[in-house]
């Protein structure tokens, strides 16, 4: 099935929930509001003709005033793929967790929290995964200020002073 067919099926099943189809230059993306995310995800996994049983990738993207979570899904049976996008504002960056639907999301959501700062409500083990637990800030945000040291260890490059032979 193509993305437009999948979108048509989803819109028919979930009318008025705000799903939109964004045609990109290379790939089309289905935009899902966060209130409809869990239901959309469940339908994508359980409906017999959709059968998206594998979450390939979950990424967070920092877009100035908003944060996005992008879900790339794939069906092992039908071999079709779809991409979902869920956008939230930076003031209220909470998205429901899809761990109960695709357990693969567990670590991906922790990484999105760690690096971008999207909070996933209902995650079973919500904490940082890559940076240390007491790290401050979310490194992949565009306005991130790199810390100069961590626990006394300097983290900025020690360049030699100018005019050294």
């Amino acid at each position: 099935m193509t993305v437009s067919e999948i979108f048509a099926k989803l819109s028919a099943a979930l009318p008025g929930r705000g799903l939109t189809l964004e045609e990109g230059a290379v790939e089309a993306v289905i935009r899902v509001p966060r209130e409809a995310l869990i239901e959309t995800a469940r339908r994508l996994r359980d409906e017999s003709e959709l059968n998206f049983d594998a979450l390939m990738c979950l990424s967070g993207v920092d877009r100035a005033a908003e944060l996005e979570a992008v879900y790339h899904l794939c069906s092992m049976k039908y071999r079709h793929r779809v991409t979902l996008r869920c956008v939230v504002s930076k003031d209220d960056p909470v998205i429901p967790s899809v761990c109960s639907i695709w357990p693969a999301a567990d670590w991906h959501e922790r990484e999105a929290w760690d690096l971008i700062g999207i909070r996933f409500a209902g995650h079973p083990d919500f904490r940082r995964i890559l940076c240390p637990d007491d790290w401050e800030g979310h490194p992949l945000r565009k306005d991130y200020a790199v810390p100069t040291s961590y626990h006394g260890i300097p983290l900025t490059a020690q360049l030699p002073p100018e005019n050294t032979p």
Binding site: C131, W135, Y144, Y150, I153, P154, L155, Q158
Partner: protein, 162 residues
């Protein structure tokens, strides 16, 4: 040895003892296998059949308590730096450190934009030999051990007069 070191000034007996101690220490260097990243693979390749470190008396130990030197092979990150320091402190003296690869020397390719990378292991522990390369060839690592030998041979247990 704790009993002899610094007790006597330089004399002919001490220089002979120095020769023996330095010779035995440098010819039987047991490194702690502290492979962090890609350089660890080249370190393993150096210890494997073709480049064979065992012929130099070098035998990888998994625990710091039994090792003489530490090869920091790979990138040191902020999360790892404290563990690295702890392992270094667990090694018994005399102990030496070889910083293998660009990341351990100065942060490597992540020197500019790596927020989580420590720009060189010498910000955490003192280093004796730096091996450039990304990753350094096994021959370069063997060269580092030979340079470390030269360094050890210059050591002395005599009391320092200056």
């Amino acid at each position: 040895m704790g009993v002899l070191e610094g007790r006597y000034g330089p004399n002919v007996v001490i220089t002979s003892i120095d020769k023996v101690f330095n010779w035995s220490r440098s010819r039987s260097m047991w490194p702690l296998s502290f492979g962090l990243a890609c350089c660890a693979i080249e370190m393993m390749a150096t210890a494997a059949s073709r480049f064979d470190l065992d012929r130099f008396g070098i035998f990888m130990r998994p625990t710091p308590r039994q090792s003489d030197c530490m090869i920091v092979a790979g990138t040191v990150t902020a999360k790892m730096a404290e563990r690295l320091k702890r392992l270094y402190e667990q090694m018994a003296e005399p102990r030496y450190v070889i910083a293998m690869g660009s990341c351990a020397n100065s942060g490597g390719p992540y020197w500019e934009y790596g927020y989580h990378v420590v720009k060189g292991v010498d910000l955490v522990i003192p280093v004796d030999v730096y091996v450039p390369g990304c990753p350094p060839r096994p021959e370069a690592l063997i060269d580092a051990f030979l340079k470390l030998r030269e360094k050890i041979e210059r050591e002395s247990i005599a009391r320092k007069t200056t």
